[in-house]
């Protein structure tokens, strides 16, 4: 038999004015498990808590019911009281006599009857509570950042500056991501590489950062505080230690393939550095196109390398790292504009993508920053931008808005004006979405000062005629069909998730939406956390956003990581699910419903059973309700405990 103490609070008169405290005490005293039942003016006050502590000692209590306000208010207070008194803090329940009773009741009789019932129910539950110990998870003080775009760079630097070691894994041969491809950035038009390059260099030289470029994450196991990560460093064929970045090798390589960095507007060699300011500066050999790897002949680069850095024998290397937290910053990809055959991208040479436009206007791009159209190198005098290509189009593309392209197009229009002062510039839009600090002003400037014609209407077709592109559209304000003769057309093909986003999400066990963008835990209140504790998001991989937002998210993620890793151990509420191995039949129904992938397969006496990962379980109880064998229990909310509450309610006849 339990020895339970019941402590009924008056809350001044908040409770006592509506509830007959004496009757509550009287009825509680008569309950079998109750050793003492007392009342007090303000139970949460210091003397009130002392009353509890004293009673625990005096009656040798092993359970407590505090009949007072809402547990959402004072549960932590009274748990602490119990702990101070040497009793397990989870041996306590609160009956809500205030918010759920005295404050809402119409009359004293009803309120008192309800209070009596609630106390009885809680006594029944406490009689079945079991002591619980907080879960302590060890913490590895190292973080992993996946993706080295502006978001990944920022996250890595913030974490490293906080004194925590970081491993940054970037897939391509250099840091930088998409931002490295731009010339200028909206809304301030500052030079992208002037602000990005120093950060890239800082990453490479930071004592707390281990940079793995040309690398990918292969496997992630474990849980918050203790993730095990396997990363594969692809054979670069250039020794990073020896290479001094002189670039001599690039000059001799006979291979020419389209450059990814230049969005196929120019060629690169087989041994290549995506761009001159690449970090690390050492090139990599693309083995798919290298003649030596295809035919066994060439090795021209090796011959000229002054540092003897070329290493054809290099092999992929697998490294293992233990980390406590992970930031995912893998960025984005593009909608394939070739699907818009009506615009002729891919068959009309002068219809290009906005990324290609960035390269065409970039001082380090294939034209040295001169705006020339691809077909004949002519300076375009009439330029059309088309918004929302693949965005806001459920039929051929994505229903969502890509969010950055209205602004990027305004930026492009302004850049165009500065390069070709007498050009005619048109921008076809559905709506202009420029909701950021200084954004609307920027668009207005393009319209008012830079003489960019924004035309409301989504073009239907582009027809190529005599070296001109005829853009056929509606001008919705005129309500009429119009045709614009253009020398060059730029399509803002929408932002899409990385092709392999779903695979990465599955590897990490984090949620993703139907388009492949990773899901935050709560869109408003937990925007950088994921459903997996210890894994955070930054940048475009979570959804379309611009650089300021990507960087803000990166810093937010970094501070989350630092907060988490500032402790040696992570304490977690012990209210999690638990499997009874004897009863579990291994049906794994629980696994199906667990949103947090906290249930795993395990083995028990050569049988398959379920196992709950304590670091991952959030304690929602969905699995418990799903289990038809009664093998899954939720601590502090077990079937037995809740059933006891229910049956206790009806254990006594009350007046009807």
């Amino acid at each position: 038999m339990r020895k339970i103490g019941v402590f009924v609070c008056h809350c001044g008169t908040n409770i006592s004015s509506m509830v007959d405290i004496d009757r509550v005490i009287e009825s509680a005293t008569r309950l079998p498990d109750v050793a003492c039942a007392v009342d007090y003016q303000f139970t949460c006050s210091a003397p009130g808590q002392t009353q509890i502590k004293d009673a625990i000692k005096e009656y040798n209590l092993d359970g407590v019911v505090v009949a007072a306000c809402s547990p959402r208010m004072h549960e932590p207070t009274f748990r602490k009281t119990l702990r101070d008194a040497g009793l397990n803090p989870y041996m306590m329940e609160m009956a809500n006599l205030r918010e759920h009773t005295s404050w809402v009741a119409l009359n004293r009789g009803e309120a008192t009857a309800k209070a009596i019932d609630l106390v009885r129910m809680k006594v029944a539950k406490v009689a079945r509570l079991r002591p619980l110990e907080e879960i302590h998870l060890p913490v590895t003080r190292r973080a992993l950042v996946i993706g080295g775009g502006v978001a990944g760079i920022q996250a890595a630097l913030d974490i490293a500056d906080g004194g925590v070691d970081v491993t940054l894994v970037e897939r391509s041969p250099s840091l930088g991501g998409h931002m490295a491809q731009y010339d200028k950035t909206f809304p301030t038009l500052d030079c992208a590489s002037c602000i990005l390059t120093p950060k890239m260099v800082e990453v490479a030289s930071h004592p707390n950062i281990t940079l793995l470029t040309y690398s990918e994450v292969e496997e992630v196991t474990g849980f918050v505080g203790a993730y095990k990560v396997k990363a594969r460093i692809r054979a670069r064929s250039v020794d990073l230690e020896k290479c001094n970045g002189c670039g001599t090798c690039l000059e001799v390589c006979p291979v020419r393939v389209p450059s990814e960095f230049d969005a196929s507007l120019a060629d690169r060699t087989a041994i290549y550095r995506p761009f001159p300011q690449a970090v690390p500066a050492a090139p990599a050999i693309d083995r798919e196109s290298c003649i030596y790897f295809k035919t066994g002949k060439c090795r021209a680069c090796e011959k000229v390398c002054p540092a003897d850095a070329i290493d054809f024998e290099q092999e992929n290397e697998i490294v293992e790292v233990q980390v406590g937290a992970i930031v995912v910053a893998t960025g984005f990809h593009f909608f394939d504009a070739r699907k818009y055959t009506e615009y002729g991208y891919g068959s009309y040479k002068d219809v290009i993508s906005w990324l290609q436009f960035e390269r065409l206007t970039n001082a380090s791009g294939p034209t040295g920053g001169k705006l020339r159209r691809p077909s004949d190198g002519m300076e375009p005098k009439s330029i059309v931008f088309i918004h929302c290509v693949g965005s806001r189009d459920p039929s051929k593309g994505f229903p969502y808005c890509s969010r950055i392209c209205c602004m990027a197009t305004a930026k492009h229009a302004v850049i165009t004006r500065s390069k070709i002062p007498d050009a005619k510039i048109y921008s076809f839009y559905i709506d202009i979405r420029a909701a950021g600090k200084g954004y609307e002003e920027f668009v207005r400037r393009a319209i008012e000062q830079e003489d960019v014609q924004f035309i409301k209407g989504r073009p239907s077709r582009i027809v190529q005629s005599d070296g001109k592109l005829l853009v056929r559209s509606e001008d919705a304000f005129l309500g009429r069909q119009i045709e614009v003769e253009a020398d060059m057309v730029i399509l803002t093909n929408g932002a899409a998730a990385q092709n392999d986003a779903a695979e990465l999400a599955q590897m990490l066990g984090i949620g993703y939406d139907q388009y492949g963008f990773f899901n935050e835990l709560h869109p408003k209140l937990r925007p950088v956390e994921t459903n997996k504790a210890g894994i955070y998001l930054a940048g475009m991989c979570q959804g379309p956003k611009d650089i300021p937002e990507s960087v803000a998210q990166a810093s937010a993620s970094a501070s989350k990581v630092l907060g988490l890793l500032s402790r040696d151990q992570i304490a977690r509420e012990p209210i999690i699910a638990e499997v009874d191995p004897g009863r579990c039949t291994g049906c794994m129904d629980c696994m199906e419903v667990c949103f947090f992938t906290a249930v795993e397969e395990d083995e028990f006496m050569e049988r398959k059973i379920a196992k709950v990962l304590p670091g991952v379980c959030q304690g929602c109880g969905a699995c418990v309700a799903q289990c038809s064998d009664g093998a899954m229990e939720l601590r502090a909310f077990s079937d037995e405990q809740i059933h006891a509450e229910i049956t206790a309610l009806f254990a006594v006849e009350v007046a009807r």
């Binding site: 918010e99 949620g511 419903v593 109880g621 059933h643």
Partner: protein, 143 residues
């Protein structure tokens, strides 16, 4: 003692939304009938069909389940499970002869104190209107 029918209702309220909504009804002193006996659970997805059956068998006249609005679940999807299980159970109850009106599933957010009072009042009225103890309660079955 007058023999007015005073139904008792078991309330299974999720911690993050409906329980907090009920708290808010209290803080803003909205009055509503006190037939409901709230039981705090982490999430409406925790509600096993057994809880409802136990309640009805033990003599509850109604069962009120409260969860977060769809897409607002603290645990992301718990309320969807609740909804699925709920509709299955409801048709089962119909089958065994318990009026489906004795069972309700409501979405009440933490900021909807008034709504909590409203839906509880309405449900209490509904149950009252059924007018007799639930036919499934053990007592009734034994009689």
């Amino acid at each position: 003692m007058t023999e007015e029918y005073y139904p008792r209702i078991v309330g299974l309220l999720c911690n993050w939304c409906t329980y907090a909504g009920a708290d808010l009804a209290g803080t803003t002193r909205i009055k509503y009938p006190q037939n409901i006996r709230p039981i705090r659970i982490p999430c409406s997805g925790r509600v096993s069909p057994h809880f409802i059956l136990t309640s009805l068998l033990s003599g509850a006249d109604g069962v009120f389940i409260g969860g977060c609005h769809p897409a607002d679940c603290h645990y992301n999807e718990g309320n969807y499970y609740a909804r699925r299980r709920f509709s299955v159970l409801k048709s089962f109850l119909d089958f065994v002869g318990v009026e489906p009106e004795r069972l309700t599933l409501e979405w009440v957010s933490a900021s909807e104190g008034d709504r909590f009072a409203e839906v509880v009042t309405a449900f209490t009225e509904d149950v009252k209107a059924l007018g007799r103890p639930n036919p499934y309660s053990r007592k009734e079955l034994e009689d």
